[in-house]
Amino acid sequence: MKTRRDFIKISALGLGGVAAVAGMSKMMTGQKVVDEFLKLSQEGKSFLKRYPTYCEVCFWKCAGWTYVDDAGKIVKIIGNDDDPHCNGRLCPRGTGGIGMYYDEDRLKKPLIRVEGSEGQTFKEASWDEALDYVAKKMKEIAQKHGPESIALFNHGSPGHHFGHLLKAFGSSNIVAPSYAQCRGPREVGFEMTFGVGVGAPEPTDIRDTRCLVLIGSHIGENMHNGQVQEMSDAIDRGATIITVDPRFSTAASKSKFWLPIKPATDMALLLAWMHVLIYENLYDRDYISKYADGFDELKEHVRPFTPEWAYGITTLSPDLIRQTAREMAAASPSVIIHPGRHVTWYGDDSQRSRAIAILNALLGSWGRRGGFYFKRAQNVPEYPTEEYPKPAWSWKDTHNGKYPLARLSVANLLIDATIPSPDNTHEIYGWIVAGTNLPLTMPDKQKLKKAFEALELLVVVDTMPMEITGYADVVLPESTYLERYDDLRNETHREAFVALRAPAVEPMYESKPAWWIARELGIKLGLGRYFPWKDYSEVLDWQLKQIGSSLEEMMEIGVKKFPNPAPLYIEDGHEPTFPTPTGKIELYSHELEHYGFDPLPVYTAHPEPPEGFYRLIYGRAPMHTFSRTANNPNLVDLMKENALWVNPRVASLWNLKNGQYVKLKNQDGVETRFATKVRITERIRWDSVYIVHGFGHHEKGLTRAYGRGASDSELITNVQIDPLMGGTGMRGNFVTFVIDNIKTEVES
């Protein structure tokens, strides 16, 4: 077992072949190509060929077309008109997805960690050598600790391929940080109320809504394409937008009402809104009496939570609270209290999400036009292979009876199960990490470091030399989405459909598609029977034929819709079912009561920043996704670093100037590695500062991203765990400015 896992900088290898992009011209440049295109198109010739794909830059996965010229170069990516996720319009990241393919910093060859005379380093390896190494280690770990002790951390499309491998190997410890670090609590809040979670994409009928309420959800800065498009439609149709945010977000600037709430007090506002709706008789009485259970308990519960009560907590005037509640009621049932997406804030997030679910119930919006529609999806059968072995234990067993409402595995708890401790009843010894950059994703870096040190095997699959690769024993270069097949996308929407991703070009360098890596590794592990195909196109063609299409057809159309007569709304004849214990919408949750949690949501005061500190709020920019796009040449050109939003009064107190670089230090004395630029703006409260997440990369192999901006996740050392499902509340961190002796690592 290793005693120490040094961070190896891929850039510092000095190995031939890794350093340069010899011979790779970066896209076509210059006017010549345009002129040529003009000439050719004028002659009526088209020299572009298109291949269907769906985007992998974010989880929205918009379907599109990759255009390739006759020299075999990708020239652009355009949305597929038939795709309900994007309606033919990709977002900046989808349009700039081309930069993911051309990024010369990409991982190029498999790498294996070796002990050299000057410490640990990576050596380049053949695929055979690298996969042999991984298979040998996996077998050793399985022999010592059981196959369950290997976990998969994943995000996006590679996850399914490695998940299949891991299940065949005998482990169900498959986890995505998108649950416990992001949207998990809202799923629990809605499950406890309506019996079903929100799911993705959210079935919010924004297009037809008359009132959209956003609570800390910044549509427009989060570029969830379909939602952004529909918010725009709603603006066109004169819908009222109400935005609750300590920051005057883009969405706030489009809103009729902006409620600049004191951070961490959202629950008080939600309870006060319930109070107004109930005590002014504004709620949907028919809907509640027909579908809901526990109204009387709720009514009694919210009796003291008047707008005047909430005023003292939220700093929002009682009039504004009443006025906005009435506005929602006037639009009911065509109203959406948006469940949000990244909701892991203060540790009582499932309960806050439940309050949002209850409000939607009071307004009768679940299952109604302009509220939430009943979603449709096209089922795609799994390719038949032998049944998976039954694991002796799973992620749920690592919780020791805690977090009973976690429906999906919890990344932070699997990290805990990796750190040696007498409290652990079940232990993890090996990780495969595919498509998620844990060092910038997970809060509490110390824990992550301990886990890295304890691991017997860490395999990283990625397209880029993300920070996580520096801790790996083996790094496997994955092809970008433009170079590979993946599973059919059949997510839910108003219409049922499937979308195909097919390679537009051969993989660059020695990168390989995830399906190929998983299959080759499977064969080396003696699990070849789970991979009875040579090429993934065989799987796709078989699946498509089961649902009345074919690979050939999908190569032509990219997206296929399937008629589904189920009505989208109650008013159109959809009789709703609520898979809760009472079979009704549970305003009062007996299930929560059973587990010893509050059956009705309760406001809890959260800690406030000490003198001279400000609450750290983080969020999204529309041209970047998490930390994964910070090196994309096209997207860096749009935004190369994050800036720190500071209220002018705060700036004046600290004598900060616009554009000045500062570092941030949190309540535990943790300082950001790099500095970030001050942006003085009225658009934020004086008790908070804001930065966009995903910057401050410290891997030098990311030549454009290295040292640019500050990383919010470095500062998240105070984590409040949600007792219902284990999510990591991350908005309870307070920062102050480090002003003196700031050097920027890179020229700005």
Binding site: Q31, R89, C91, V228, F248, K254, P622, W686
Partner: protein
Amino acid sequence: MRYAMAIDTRKCVGCSDCVVACQVENNVPIGYCRDWVVESTSGTYPVLQTEIRSERCNHCDNSPCVRCCPTGASHFEQGGIVTVTHHKCIGCGACIQSCPYDARYSHPDGYVDKCTFCLHRVVEGLKPACVSVCPTKCMYFGDLEDPNSDVSVAIRHRNYKTLAPEAGTKPQIFYLL
């Protein structure tokens, strides 16, 4: 025929898709752009207004850049679109100085470059790249002389403004308010 564009500031979220779509479509080298996003905030917390808008060449009727071009490289194309014939351009930069919108840049290959309203797409019946990708559908393009064109319809019942009207350039991009 008079090509023009309307941009709805109530819908634009400043995502910059227009910028990257233009760069990719027109092979604008990284580090340069033909269109860009401007965000301006007025007021004091908590009474604020933020306007976000996508900007580019205004394809002015009274174009100082065309007037001052010593070689005729800057000229009007069909529908009033202002373009630069690259091989005629000597890169003197007079047009860059004359433009009140800072809409032109010196291309590293030695000529001045700018928005063409994607003339190469327009002649094929397509919309400019920026308009065709915009997720908020906040941009409207078309012929002002056609009352049914997207742009004519967009401005018919809305208040709008143009940028720097005092420059007297008769700009053809209308910002819906």
